[in-house]
Amino acid sequence: MKNNCSAGIQQRLAWFLEPTVLVFSLCLVLLAIGQVVSPGFAAPRQIINMLVVASFLGIVAAGQSLVVIGGKNGIDLSVGNLVTFGAIVGGAMMRQQDQRLVLALVTVLVLSFLVGLLNGTGVVFFGIPPLVMTLGMGIIVAATNRFITGGVPVGGASPLLRSLVVGRLGGVPGILFWWVLIAVLVLVLLHNSRYGMNLYALGSNETAARLSGVPVVPMRIITFGICSLLAGLAGFLYLGYLGSVYNITLGDKYTLASVVAVVVGGTALTGGTGGYRGVFFGAIMLQLLESLLITLRMEQFGRNITFGVVLLLLIFMYGRDKKLRM
């Protein structure tokens, strides 16, 4: 009886320590603190504002999580530059005209997918570690951003794109609908599709995956492709949010933030585990934390230290490697 009871508690504790639940609870805690310190922080309008800002990171992190799950030190450090790429190419193609919207979107998606394929090719065929391969590719993409446009982006978001992103439906901005749609697609992709099953298999044991028929090389390359594609898409939507591109480093901040969101969301960098559910809330949590620290009027140094310490605490909860001594 007693045993049963403690087992029950243990189970419940395990459930609570489940990354998704933990991160979600943390979001609620942050909202509560914010509301106490500065009434209005948790007002629906403000929450929506923060979700809007989080959505771009959320979309980039979706791609990042795929690459990480695929294992073999999978990481993509070119995503930030691809966000800029998506915004710049999108703006240059669209030139504020609605009838060019589809063309611009397709161009962005195709080009960024190709960049991802190049990443994958470097990793698979030349054996370059993903970290440096994507770092190098990031430099190339950043340079291309400059080169294509001569350093001076032209055009900008068309009115339709703007209203698709910031226009509201029932008080909810369009971007949130897109984010939820992408989230659902990614979740289905991961948990109910051949691709997802192959990806998890690949991430947990590559040799066994190959011998079970998983097409290892195409899988890896395509995964980098999807990751880049999502980053490009995020950039395109970001353009809709910003209206025009003013700065060719605007996406840089998403590079490491997306990795952080993935880890905070409970996807180990060793691959084969985790999923998008936690990452989704991870992105929201990061944004909430940042907003809260700003609202607290904390100075820059204090914000940095708090942010770093919170991250370390989360890593302590579940970003840890296996014990050597079992």
Binding site: S38, G40, F41, A43, R45, Q46, N49, M50, V52, V53, R146, G151, V152, P153, V154, G156, V166, Y238, Y241, L242, G243, S244, V245, Y246, N247, I248, T249, L250, K253, S291, I294, T295, R297, Q300
Partner: protein, 325 residues
Amino acid sequence: AGRGEAKTEGFVIGVSNPWVGSEWRTQMVDRVQEVAQPYIREGFIKEVIVQSFDVPLEGQIDQIRNLISRGANVILVNPADANALNPVIREATQRGVIVIATDTEVSSPEAINVAIDQAEWARISARWLVDKLGGEGKIVAINGIAGHPANTARVRGYTEVFGDAPGIEILNQVNADWDNALGQSTMQNLLATYPDINGVWVQDGMAEGALRAIRSAGRDDIYVTGEARVGYLNLWKETGIDGIGVANPPGCMASALEVAVQLLKGRELKDGILSGPFGNTIYVPVPVVVTNLNFDTVYNEYKGYPDYYSVDGHITPAQAEQFFK
């Protein structure tokens, strides 16, 4: 790479720019090359060599050394720091190279700065804001990168002005790193936190983001300072606000080139022309202040330009001669 005593033409101009993140810098580099063209045609200048790359501080030192190696006679720098380049500037001047810093001022006594007064630049829009609010109201400020010298000077400038207006209360000052998107989301945060804001002091690309956030929150009762950039002017036109845009000219480096030309011609600076915190700065005037009074003229002049383009200006050779004996 020594310069022959008798050299009177065929000078080599080096440009060192350590950050390529914003179009403002692109415009700066383009403009200096453009202004050099007539001199190149007449053979006075042989070539303009550009070092423009994202590098950390010591990377800019390397840039300057490379320019010395390539035989530059004049090096125009947009310095990443006020003091860090002093050793390499000494290296350069010891080898007979003229170093002129623009945009941000360096403390080296061997160099000359040609810049607008960033503190004064900030004061202009701060004064405007105080004026519009009738000396009474709650404001927030959105700043650039903490610790950056230009940012520090600007904060100093507006703090003075707002400090002199007892009715003005600064609710919060946030750094948004001169990032448009960050400016937009920061403004959203601030609006939600402080429902009773009357004014916002903001600058650079961030101004556009902040204005967008304010408009989409439906608050047209807030006064916002701004930036004399085409994108901002368009938004200004679209929303019909009562605004201000103080030009921070990318042409400052072109102004520096004009000064350099005079120096190469062997002219000497007038006494007392140098001022500034380090006593080595030639201040050039802020070229344009856009308000509703002159909005239409400026708008029409820059209508065809892309969004990122800054309302610009630089001194003419004649103006440059004024600084010399």
